[in-house]
Amino acid sequence: MKFETPATTNPIDQLKIVGKPVDRIDGPRKTTGTAPYAYERHDVAPNQAYGQVLGAGIAKGRVTAMDTSAARAAPGVVAIVTTLDMPRLEKGKTNTASLFGGPEIQHYHQAIAVVVAETFEQARDASAMIRVEYARTPGRYDLEAEMPHAELTAPESDDDSPPPPPEDRVGDFEGAFAAAPVTLDATYTTPDESHAMMEPHASIAQWEGDKLTVWTSNQMIAWGKRDLAKTLGLEPGNVRIESPFIGGGFGGKLFLRADAVLAALGSRAARRPVKVALTRPMIANNTTHRPATIQRIRIGAGSDGRITAIAHESVSGDLEGGKAETAVMQTKLLYAGANRLTAMRLAVMDLPEGNAMRAPGEAPGLMALEIAMDEMAEKLGMDPVEFRIVNDTQVDPEDPARRFSQRQLNECLRLGAERFGWARRNATPGARREGRWLIGMGMAAGFRNNLVMKSGARVLLDASGGVTVETDMTDIGTGSYTVIAQTAAEMMGVGLDKVTVRLGDSSFPVSAGSGGQWGGNSATAGVYAACVKLREAVAQRLGFNSAEAEFADGVVRGGNRSAPLGEAAGADGLVGEDTIEYGDLAKRFQQSTFAGHFVEVAVDVATGETRVRRMLAVCAAGRILNPKSARSQVIGAMTMGVGAALMEELAVDKRHGFFVNHDLAGYEVPVHADIPHQEVIFLDEVDPISSPMKAKGVGELGICGVGAAVANGIYNATGVRLRDYPMTLDKMLDRLPELA
């Protein structure tokens, strides 16, 4: 199905099941421990052995020798594969550093061996017996020091269209900024961050001749299959991937990683199935992370509060051949202003590979931009909510002919202000105190583009009227199983109890996968398309006019007769399969999602400890397919935003080039005690431009802006303006009030 014109009325609009806050259908399996995660797939292949990955102990240089004799002689060891056993493997399309092979070390904890043994403990013990000699070479580990060498770089385009210019200019920024009566020129920094998902990267691999099956934890099945085949030099048709349950990804599992490659290599060497999980320290330094940024923002406005000039420039680093953190992209679209400049610079560095993490670009970009907006509002003597509302735009500021398909940012901000009690905020910083706590309120706009992705599904009807959906879509905790079941149930006119959803198998039709908050809308749109096909087949088989047939309560009705849905299936069942594809609506309209984030913080006047007291997000993101799972997505993202604001930072050892705090004791993320009352409101919105579902994504919108809202709250509480994340107490201690 090609989606080329805005959606009109369709069966989803019945909203009998879609749009309802139903419990997630995989919930009971998860809460009873019976949802099988990759490392637990003991049943899929007999005689599994355990692989332990050894990571490089240096950040840059070469492996000159590896002595595996002691490890090979260790109890239980079945096979050892080292990086010196083979030339550097081909890289997958989504990989920057090589995942294995050859002597060169490109980053700390890059995989250099896998040890396969009868037990996990034996494999781990033996891996520590491998003696490695290195020749070290100096590396570049300090982003600030590399800034002078950073080069302008263009963002990747989402499709085949040419990339935008590296330095994107509209009007005369410098002239307008110089002429503006009120200006801000400030620099903000965000640190490297780790996905820190609960489930580590894990894979089980099994060979049958040239055919490889990998049970893994991966957000993008088709990418994983493609890149695994390329890395190992296999025909893609000989690779099968299964990933039905994923214990969190946040972008860290978008790509093929060393666990899958080394499970496959270990299995080939051991001639039996091998399972591999990356250890927690490897997550930080072996896999990808969100890169640090240094961002300069300049804003000029008239005394009426209207922005006349806005510039956002960001520097980030990555390995050779890597890409920039796209921290300036939202600034192209979020606020009005005739004179604009955005630019990104990329420094080549030797830290581990940077890549997408929940709202890549937007999350760190808004962490900076939305503090700058708060600072400007104060300079203008305006309320920060009002300042944003004044600068709203309903069109793409760089291309005013392009309208937003829906843009209810102002509505989010107004409703949020009202519900949160924003009017009670004291605009004078440091003026509200309760006991030892300084209390402040902060807000920020949230913004994340809505991406639509081609997505396929197959829907099978059986004689009992049961419907089974098969698609390689993944559920990374987001609720994909449930919204897909709701979609199929709505379309086929059956209850949720009649729907089975099977996900994450590369033998199923290729879907959008889970990333970029495109999964929910795109994957359900694919299921919609397949259901349309199935409805046609049902109508034809039962002799109904497919345009008039109604599907409800397990019965098909048309004219003055009806028939049970299952009757169409016959003994062999009936299948509908299709893929949703998109025309140029995404080019003609700007599709985005919006939020107003409001936060109240308390800062200990003595210690500078910041504790969030309450949070509100008001979101406008198209049709909400399931308000319950959508709310879970948003509060999870808000929590991650608090982490980014207050504690998350991969600490770089600038001498040796690695992230030092590579475990969950050192890399702090919020715990329950950090997360108080959270509220989420979804505006009533449908967006017929986005897809037949009229939905958009929410999973990344929820984090966008939260960090800045916390930072602005800290400023309101204390009068201390912080511009460097995370906003830990050491950065404000010397500016807090003197104590008696």
Binding site: T607, E609, V660, E668, V671
Partner: protein, 315 residues
């Protein structure tokens, strides 16, 4: 994890005797040791499980204090009515540490013996004088925000991570042990944990095989009890700085600090400054501090935290 043998000890002196063999370690709650074994930072060849030894009672002493068995779990100790009434600083310190699940397992003796959380100690690719004596300290010049500001050496700038021990230092607890030859001794907590010097791998006054049987608290001090732990998140984090304090109505009192040194940090002579306020008191307590650029804030933080405690004491 290296292969190891395992036995269950039947009494303290048998445990101490068994621990004479090289590579032997006691195990109780295992909340720190097992993690370190997985990372091969600890590589015992023999484990002596002491969980069956009893030593799990909290009993009054003839001197009016409390005797705490070595195997009393942190949860029980924190919840004990006598501890909460007479040694509230200890109860509060315990509850500020770890998580509920860990406190259910962790023991009194094990808490005293937990090892540093210095990130370089945890990464076996990096030199560390605690892990490999003489290999060097990779923390010095590296990421030091969490590390010591006083009492450190050229060999080690690690901190002791315990909260419980900081409160016990303020209370002048005494650690009771039995040696491999059956002899017992009482070690004042002030002498129990060592500064790193040039042997940072030697962390306590315990001899090889010496087994902790319990901890005695002297008679109650009265006064108001505080344990204020400062950290980046609200729970389940090690202290940047913690202040254990017992403050009397006349403004005199005792103060011990966590998160600043290789052992709970207390300077008795400095406590006479307490009635004059946090600034002079902390200047005396942290006299001679040599923080790094990254952790210099701890000196200010300690002073401000103490100021907050003293304000609460007056309130």
């Amino acid at each position: 994890m290296k292969p190891f043998t395992y036995e269950r000890a039947r009494n303290p002196s048998e445990a101490a005797a068994a621990a004479r063999q090289p590579g032997a370690r006691f195990i109780a709650g295992g909340t720190n040791l097992i993690d370190l074994m997985k990372l091969q930072i600890e590589t015992p060849t023999h484990l002596i499980d002491v969980n069956g030894l009893g030593l799990d009672r909290i009993e009054p002493t003839p001197e009016g204090g409390l005797h705490i068995g070595a195997l009393v779990r942190n949860t029980e100790l924190a919840a004990d009515a006598r501890v909460r009434r007479d040694y509230a600083v200890l109860s509060r310190a315990l509850l500020a540490g770890a998580s509920g699940q860990l406190r259910n397992k962790a023991t009194t003796a094990g808490n005293l013996l937990q090892r540093t959380r210095c990130p370089y100690f945890y990464d076996t690719n990096q030199p560390c004088n605690k892990r490999q004596p003489g290999s060097g300290c990779s923390a010095i010049g590296g990421i030091t925000r969490q590390l010591a500001v006083i009492g450190a050496s050229e060999a080690c700038i690690a901190t002791h991570p315990s909260d419980m021990a900081v409160a016990m230092r303020a209370l002048d607890a005494v650690v009771e042990t039995v040696k491999a030859d059956g002899a017992t001794r009482r070690i004042p907590i002030a002498e129990f944990h060592r500064l790193p010097g040039d042997t940072p791998h030697v962390e306590t006054a315990l001899e090889a095989g010496e087994f902790i049987t319990g901890v005695t608290l002297p008679a109650p001090l009265g006064g108001k009890h505080f344990y204020k732990k400062v950290r980046d998140r609200a729970s389940y984090a090690f202290a940047l700085v913690s202040v254990a304090a017992v403050v009397q109505p006349d403004g005199s009192g005792r103060v011990a600090l966590g998160g600043v040194a290789h052992r709970p940090w207390r300077v008795e002579a400095a406590e006479r400054e307490l009635p004059r306020g946090a600034k002079p008191a902390m200047a005396a307590i942290l006299s001679g501090a040599r923080p790094t650029h990254e952790n210099a804030f701890k000196v200010t933080l300690a002073e401000r935290t103490l100021a907050s405690v003293l304000a609460d004491a007056r309130g």
